[in-house]
């Protein structure tokens, strides 16, 4: 009965968001039914579409897992884009420039991505813990800074000499890249790593460290009195959160991109926030909402191509979902306090 209560608000929010989207479509002279049909077909109508949905789900899911860890501790890390990019850069540098056998490259790239994510997050956490620097703004500023850094790299030192001056890096050798799961699609074995991370997080919340992170988010005063070093926990939590996003970058570079290019992160970061919140910061909930939102993303591109509906409608729907989820939380809370 309780579980049902938990699922109802998110589902209602989604329906409402689509309803508002339909109104917007009507007002701009689009046929909502045809548009949504195209959306749905894009994501599920074909094997390729479905595979794309899964492909997009992988980074969204992974980043969202990290976002949920931070949010659970009431640390508002919204810089998923930048952290994902850091993972991409680390992976590319190792895989292209480190002379090592293939398997070793894969391992080191993963470790480096995790390390870079943890250090980056740890430093931002330190800034928050010791200097009270608002993590919303710092993580967001770094989105811009890291994106510019990436731009610098692909226009500069890492530019592919055979790339006709395109802002992209060299391509990683074929053997290093992840295997394709379905022929003729982009779906790759990175999917298993992502799913493994979900299970990892699920068990993480049952550990002592998970308990500590939950306590910090619920009441930092009590946490301090329970012997928890709040400053250390903030650093650790931010580190873990950023590491997840960096791993997402690792997976994507080896799974679909194969190289670095300008603006590699796109809008993954903001979608991850929506996904984490819709999934109620719970790993299982996050899988479902990640799947749903990547379907939206993939379908949205189809909708734009075939119906001429600007892709930004998808962004609107995604944002509306959170607005409605947030608004509904109060109503749920009011009922339960009775």
């Amino acid at each position: 009965m309780n579980k049902f209560k938990n699922i109802l608000p998110p589902i209602l929010s989604i329906i409402l968001a689509f309803a508002v989207g339909a109104i917007i479509l009507l007002l701009s002279n689009f046929n909502p039914i045809e548009s949504y049909k195209s959306l749905f077909n894009g994501a599920f109508g074909s094997a390729y579409g479905f595979s794309e949905t899964l492909v997009k789900m992988i980074p969204i899911l992974t980043i969202a897992l990290g976002t949920s860890v931070a949010f659970k501790a009431q640390l508002w890390n919204i810089g998923g884009n930048g952290q994902y990019t850091l993972g991409c850069i680390s992976t590319l540098i190792v895989c292209v420039y480190l002379p090592a056998p293939m398997w070793l490259k894969l391992v080191i790239a993963l470790l480096l991505s995790i390390l870079v994510g943890m250090i980056f997050g740890g430093l931002l956490g330190l800034a928050k813990a010791k200097l009270n620097a608002n993590e919303v703004i710092t993580t967001l500023m770094f989105d811009y800074i890291i994106a510019l850094f990436l731009s610098f790299l692909v226009y500069g030192p890492l530019m592919d000499p055979d790339g006709h001056n395109f802002p992209q890096s060299k391509l990683i050798e074929k053997e290093v890249l992840f295997d394709k799961l379905m022929v003729g699609t982009r779906l790759h074995s990175g999917l298993f790593l992502a799913l493994f991370l979900v299970i990892l997080l699920f068990f993480f919340w049952k550990t002592k460290e998970g308990f500590r992170i939950k306590m910090i988010g619920a009441n930092p005063n009590v946490a301090k009195l329970s012997g928890i070093s709040v400053n250390l926990q903030i650093m650790l939590t931010m580190g873990i959160s950023c590491a997840f996003a960096a791993i997402a970058g690792y997976i994507d570079v080896l799974g679909i991109h194969g190289r670095l290019q300008d603006n590699i992160a796109g809008t993954l970061g903001s979608v991850a926030i929506v996904v984490a919140l819709l999934g109620n910061l719970n790993p299982i909930g996050i899988i479902f909402s990640a799947f749903f939102f990547s379907a939206l993303t993939v379908g949205g591109q189809c909708m734009q191509r075939f119906m001429g509906v600007p892709y930004s409608l998808v962004t609107i729907i995604q944002a509306l979902v959170i607005v409605f989820v947030v608004a509904s939380k109060i109503i749920v809370e009011k009922r339960s306090k009775k």
Binding site: K206, T207, A218, N221, L225, G227, S229
Partner: protein
Amino acid sequence: MNAIEMRSITKRFGSLIANNNIDFTLKKQSIHALLGENGAGKTTLMNQLFGLSIADEGSILVEGKPFKLEHSPQDSMKKGISMVHQHFMLIKNMSVCENIMLANEDENFPLLNPKQTKERIIQLSKKYHLGVDPNSIIDHISVGQQQRVEILAALYKETKTLILDEPTAVLTPEEVEDLFLILKELKRNGKSIIIITHHLNEIMDIADEVSVLRNGDLIGSTPINEKTSTKELSRLMVGRDVNFNFKKEKTNSIEKVLEIKNLSYKKEHVKLLDNINFNIKKGEIFVIAGVDGNGQKELCETIVGLNKCENGSIFLNQKDITKTNVNHRIKNGISYIPQDRQKSGLVMNWSISDNLILKTYERSPISNKFFVSTKEAQNQATRMIKKFNIKSQDNNDRANQLSGGNQQKVILAREMDRGPALLIASHPTRGLDVGAMEYVRNQMLELRNKGGSVLLISADLEEVFQIADRIAVIFKGKLMGILQPNCGVAKIGRLMAGLDEEEINE
């Protein structure tokens, strides 16, 4: 004509009847005490007079004229009724003048009029000997002075009836005397005053009449004269002979469980703890008495491990723990019941069981190497709920669904179940009903009789004298003296006000 008449006032909160058909009359130019223990319904009754809540049944007359039950504090103030709350409604980083301008929109709209306001403040302050400086910032003046600012704010609005909610709770005995002088002056000037209190002795000093409330009922009203007996009033208040008669076996222990040497602590250049020296023996209840805000919180937090002191040392069972962290001290037997139970004692929207294992989740039996066992946590919780008699329907009830007394029991259970070497309890009985108070004090005595020690922080002198083995008084971060319980209230009072100092020889 009476200043205030409340007739047949009834107020319900769900199934709880907070005020049951209460009649209350305030005579003009008199001081009327509203007596009752915590939870009796005194503040509820006055909230309805003042407009912070609305009575379900009954009627109110102000100077003979009917006053509708549904009214706001603004309406009350227009009728000349003001209320000074227990927690002052003053903006700390603003000046006295700004605080008063905030409450007096009419003369300050749209532009602020500080000149006029300051003149009037000085005028009123002189007339009633309040000693208030309109330019002083609230944060920088003492609690007693802040209270006088609140009284001045009420006078500024030309109040005729003044309600004071537990005004003496935050004052030293000296300051209480000053307050009573002011109240008598107000009375002479035609004001009528209601004092909500549970301190019997003070009523005898200042009140003309007293009404006793118990469990939502009016037990009786009587004028105060030489014939009035405190014992009788006390019995009316509690409903039985109050016999806080606790069995205390004489303790001969010399072993020290806690030793504090030359402890000092500064924050933002303010010395909050000043060269503190004392020790606590095994099997002893050591009480630190003092008015709130004289360093008690900082002392507790330093001993618990939250604050790092720049000078001094702390020894627990002869081992130097000065540089150790909170976790280490918990493991070595220090337990802490913080003053603010909802802010620092419990995670309000967590379940009772999660709150109970907050400090033991790391160790077996609840945890093995990495994982926290929900099943084992529930077992422990069930055991503790039974042992400490916590009233709840379900282990998984949230803490914010419990009553104040039960919330305190959860904290107590968590902190005492481990059998601590030293229990630090900060105002543990504040806001609890008599039953819960007795329970908490008994628990502390039990711990003491078994050989454990208690460091009790209290501002309730009744409580202090009931269970202390030794009493220390803290004033502005300094220990003014360490005394035996037979020293008397007056002595303690003087130390609390900083008027005396005893040499501390340990």
